[in-house]
Amino acid sequence: MKLIVAIIRPDKLNEVLESLYRADVKGLTVSRVLGHGGETDAVETYRGTTVKMELHEKVRLEIGVSNPFIEVTVRAILEAACTGEVGDGKIFVIPVENVYRIRTKEKDEAAVTPALN
């Protein structure tokens, strides 16, 4: 199993969630973050003070997935989050030592397999 961390544009979040839902990927964490990926800086002016916004708002998704879902998840995000311009973000696939589901004390693969309710 892996931990997939994706940094995407905030305005692409809805599309990515939709795409993940269609790919049957359930269970994720979303956080708002600031970041910079080489895109052009926006210049803003506040009554004579001109600033370059070096950090842009991004959204970070964290998804723990079982092995068969790694490709599916990555592809879903790649397709939905892409605009083709600098600043679309990145996806990291990170090895995971152990995963536990708190409710059932299940471990590893069982813990990242969607629960059937």
Partner: protein, 456 residues
């Protein structure tokens, strides 16, 4: 002979004496009391523009908050100036049945002389505050997507070519005034007019990029409530001031203006409760505005009891118009059609029902004068048709010169950054100060954040 001459002289003298009072009808004088009330009223109406800004600003997403509020505040500038330059003259110059003239262009001949019982300059200022707030209402239908420049061009031209003529029809001695259409403070001129123009604008400018696919929720509901409160407060000047005097009619308009939104708020909360099991805050803010819209044409023509009925009845069509609109593909983003269009039509028609000669104006349907109802319907129809056609032509004309809507990418980033280069809620992190030195070589001071090898 002598006696006949004498008698002729006496006759002449008598004739002169008789004619004298008519010839020298007391010159209109400025009443200090009326002037004082209109001074206050004008300031109150001016407060409605920021009221609309907060109402609309709270209802949009955070990334578009400034743009939405700027659409309202900027009307002070462009619509106010164009009103002074030409709008006032076209609306209130003597002119003909359909349009004023150029006699007051650039405020020529608008002086300290009395217009009614208030100074002419003050009358002009009072009317200017109406022109500005009317234009801002349109913004609600095209938020989140219309480019700022074309928007300003549209509301400026709209003030001249749509608002001024209709104001002339109703208040400037035009054909609707002669027909006897009752519009105390602007149900047709302001609300139906703006509601229809807004709908046309929503259709011509087009839908927002993710409309119908993604929920677009209000980012600050307290702002919307604050805006509704400011509107309620300002509306006492809007309706109360439309008596153009500090008299009983002003007191009546003030009271009806207070009562109608109270009734519509109660009805709206009940409708909300039975439909959704909750009385919502956004609904309450909307209900107050709709109650105000409904009573506007009737404020000085109906009894306080009728005002309660009008407010209560008026909430219903607008409520269901909003329910209906959200199921259609019409992206009238903040429901200007349901609020001001439908609310204005309901108000104008109900004025023809509840109007009471004992409370000023003429009798309506309920007091045995069904003809008044038809006159009101004529006013409504004429306003809808003219406003729709003229607004459509203006928008298409501007659209031929430049794009009306921002592209999908700009909408995605948000209109605050793309249209104004500012953010409503910037946290300031990661902002590099661009120092412009005297010899104009920009110096960029490095930020305190490490970005090399960043993850995004």
């Amino acid at each position: 002979m002598v006696s006949s001459v004498l008698s002729a002289t006496a006759l002449l003298a008598a004739a002169v004496q008789e004619a004298a009072p008519a010839a020298a009808a007391p010159p209109p004088t400025v009443s200090p009391a009326d002037t004082a009330w209109l001074l206050v009223s004008t300031a109150l109406v001016l407060l409605m523009t920021p009221g609309v800004a907060f109402f609309y600003g709270g209802l949009v997403r955070a990334k578009n908050a400034l743009n939405t509020m700027m659409m309202c505040m900027a009307a002070f500038g462009v619509c106010g100036v164009i009103w002074a330059v030409i709008g006032y003259s076209l609306a209130f110059g003597t002119g003909g049945n359909y349009l004023g003239d150029f006699s007051y262009a650039f405020l020529n001949n608008v002086g300290l002389d009395a217009k009614g019982t208030i100074p002419h300059v003050l009358f002009m200022a009072f009317q200017a505050s109406f022109a500005v707030v009317t234009a801002t209402l349109i913004a609600g239908a095209i938020v989140d997507r219309m480019r700022f420049g074309p928007y300003l061009a549209f509301i400026s031209l709209w003030t001249v070519f749509v608002y001024a003529p209709i104001a002339h029809w109703v208040w400037g001695g035009g054909w609707l005034a002669k027909l006897g259409v009752l519009d105390f403070a602007g149900g047709t001129v302001v609300h139906i007019n703006a509601g229809v123009a807004a709908t046309v604008a929503a259709l011509v400018v087009g839908k927002r990029k993710d409309f119908g696919r993604q929920a677009m929720l209000p980012h600050n509901v307290p702002f919307a409530l604050l805006g509704a409160a400011l509107l309620y407060f300002g509306w006492f000047g809007f309706n109360g001031g439309s008596a153009l005097a500090a008299n009983a009619s002003a007191g009546q308009a003030f009271t009806t203006t207070m009562l109608a939104p109270m009734a519509s708020l109660v009805v709206w909360m009940l409708l909300d409760f039975f439909r959704n099991r909750h009385a919502t805050a956004v609904g309450a803010a909307t209900a107050i505005v709709i109650g105000l819209v409904v009573i506007t044409p009737a404020a000085g023509f109906v009894s306080p009891q009728s005002a309660l009925f009008m407010g209560a009845l008026g909430a219903i069509p607008s409520y269901y118009a909003i329910v209906w609109r959200s199921r259609t593909r019409l992206d009238d983003s903040l429901d200007v059609l349901a609020g001001h269009g439908v609310g204005g039509i309901t108000g104008a028609l109900l004025t023809g029902v509840f109007a009471d000669a004992a409370w000023g104006g003429t009798n309506g349907l309920l007091h045995g004068n069904p003809a008044q109802f038809l006159k009101q319907a004529t006013g409504v129809g004429a306003t809808i048709v003219y406003s729709a056609v003229a607004s459509f032509v203006l928008l298409k004309a501007i659209g031929m010169v430049t794009a009306l809507a921002a592209d999908a990418k700009a909408q995605g980033r948000g209109m605050d950054i793309t249209q104004h280069g500012e953010e409503a809620y910037s946290n300031g992190e990661g902002a590099l100060l661009v120092l412009e030195t005297v010899d104009a070589t920009p110096v960029v001071r490095p930020a305190a954040v490490a970005t090399a090898g960043g993850v995004a």
